[in-house]
């Protein structure tokens, strides 16, 4: 195989099967943005630090700037576009809205996808566990306080409790 050869990848992205020819060096973040037009996945640092490009790969939060599209062949990807819809937001999206978990919004898609991944691993995180879970995302606006409140709120809602009364949400 020549180095410039493309390979076929088949991926289920937000529930829809996508088949594309890609160069092996194509990053998943670029595949989502440039091949599929899903520009909700942001690229911030491009060096696996900031987490703005976080998506779910087979349900786990990963930094899509550090995954090759070919590595995700035959796997399922969820981006922020697949999280909820207008009028039917995902609890994490609704909580970010209600708790003002964003200012400029650039980091928000990645932070929310990380939060979804965190809550999948640990549905009832303490405030400290939320902070640890969000270690891989960088927000330059909020100081993280409102983000932590939003994730705690989402956890409470997803656990079926009355949101604001949950202990961590009030910290």
């Amino acid at each position: 195989m020549n180095n410039q050869d493309t390979v076929q990848v088949t991926m289920t992205v937000n529930g829809r099967t996508r088949v594309e020819q890609v160069e092996p060096r194509l990053l998943l973040a670029h595949f989502l943005r440039d091949h599929l037009g899903l520009t909700g996945t942001h690229i911030g640092c491009d060096t696996s630090q900031c987490g703005a490009c976080t998506v779910l790969l087979d349900g786990q939060a990963v930094k899509s700037c550090t995954v090759l599209a070919v590595q995700a062949d035959h796997q399922a990807v969820t981006t922020v576009e697949g999280l909820g819809q207008r009028g039917g937001l995902h609890p994490v999206q609704q909580a970010f809205w209600d708790k003002h978990g964003l200012q400029c919004g650039f980091c928000t898609p990645g932070v929310m996808m990380t939060a979804v991944g965190l809550l999948q691993q640990n549905p009832t995180p303490t405030s400290e566990e939320i902070r640890e879970g969000l270690d891989g995302v960088i927000c330059r606006c909020t100081g993280y306080e409102t983000i932590v409140r939003a994730v705690a709120e989402a956890a409470a809602v997803m656990a079926g409790e009355a949101g604001p009364s949950a202990a961590a949400a009030n910290e």
């Binding site: 180095n3 990053l27 491009d46 696996s48 990963v62």
Partner: protein, 285 residues
């Protein structure tokens, strides 16, 4: 940042990986999670002609107990290592180290074999694995061989692995009854890499006498190292603050430290001493 072009093959078995690696050992790189390799390729510090993806080789993945050891497939991700009940119960230093690597997203992708094969001098796992007397099984054209983790860490980013070999699994002997272990880390506030990461494993008799001890340090020194002089100090009577302090001094004397833009060699030596002292103290009731 976009890596230089390369060709890509996905291995279905260890045999695939070994065979393809043998075709061009110098020009090929194995990739599993890619969290050490892909950043290097994006910065064009590495430009392999071919990537061999071993992430889906099932024989390389998983954790099991076998003949007195916990055997960890090289392709096991840090998340699974940190959360595995047997690892948490029997090898706490290893579970703690795995849980402190990078961040949640990195732990979802990065693998134990990838970390060891990359040999970053600030990686968390080498200290825990050295303290727990782990060995690695390596497959090559001539069959399998084993190395102690100390022998894997030759120099920064240099390992005991030949270009045509594959790290297959890590074996960690289950410590004797009365054993305890801990991993204590002082992370860089921005990157999270260990400025000092200290793992200590001891075996105590019921009255507190120390029958076995291993101390290993990552991050602070030029390479991760075992502080055998400190271990000698620890073995014997029950642990007292004075003996712990003496062992910490021995560990700091044993390491090779270098200054860089972050801190001087002396500061690193001091950090090593303080963290060895705190780590050992954490094991005393």
């Amino acid at each position: 940042m976009i890596p230089a072009s390369f060709s890509y093959r996905r291995a279905e078995s260890l045999d695939d990986a070994l065979r393809w690696l043998a075709e061009d050992p110098q020009g090929s790189k194995l990739v599993a999670g890619g969290h050490s390799l892909l950043p290097l390729m994006k910065m064009r510090l590495a430009a392999p002609r071919r990537l061999i993806d071993i992430a889906r080789v099932s024989e390389l993945i998983g954790i099991r107990e076998q003949s007195g050891a916990i055997v960890i497939g090289a392709g096991t991700v840090h998340r699974d290592l940190a959360g595995h009940p047997d690892v948490r119960q029997k090898l706490p230093a290893l579970a703690e180290a795995a849980g402190k690597i990078g961040d949640l997203q990195v732990r979802n992708r990065g693998t134990i074999g990838g970390s060891l094969s990359h040999a970053d001098p600030s990686a968390d796992l080498p200290a825990a694995l050295m303290a727990l007397a782990a060995t690695v099984d390596i497959a090559g054209p001539a069959g399998e061989r084993s190395l102690a983790v100390e022998e894997m860490m030759v120099a920064p980013l240099v390992t005991g692995l030949a270009p045509d070999e594959v790290l297959v699994r890590v074996r960690v002997p289950i410590p004797a009854a009365g054993s305890r272990s801990v991993y204590l880390k002082h992370p860089h506030p921005a990157s999270g890499y260990a400025l000092a990461g200290v793992a200590v494993a001891v075996t105590l008799e019921p009255a507190g006498a120390v029958t076995a001890a291993r101390v290993a340090v990552t991050g602070a020194g030029v390479v991760p190292f075992r502080a055998t002089d400190a271990e000698t100090v620890l073995i014997g009577d029950r642990l007292t603050p004075a003996r712990i302090a003496e062992a910490a001094k021995a560990a700091a004397a044993a390491g090779e430290f270098a200054g860089d833009a972050l801190m001087s060699a002396e500061y690193r030596r001091q950090l090593c001493r303080v963290y060895v002292e705190r780590a050992i103290s954490a094991l005393v009731d």
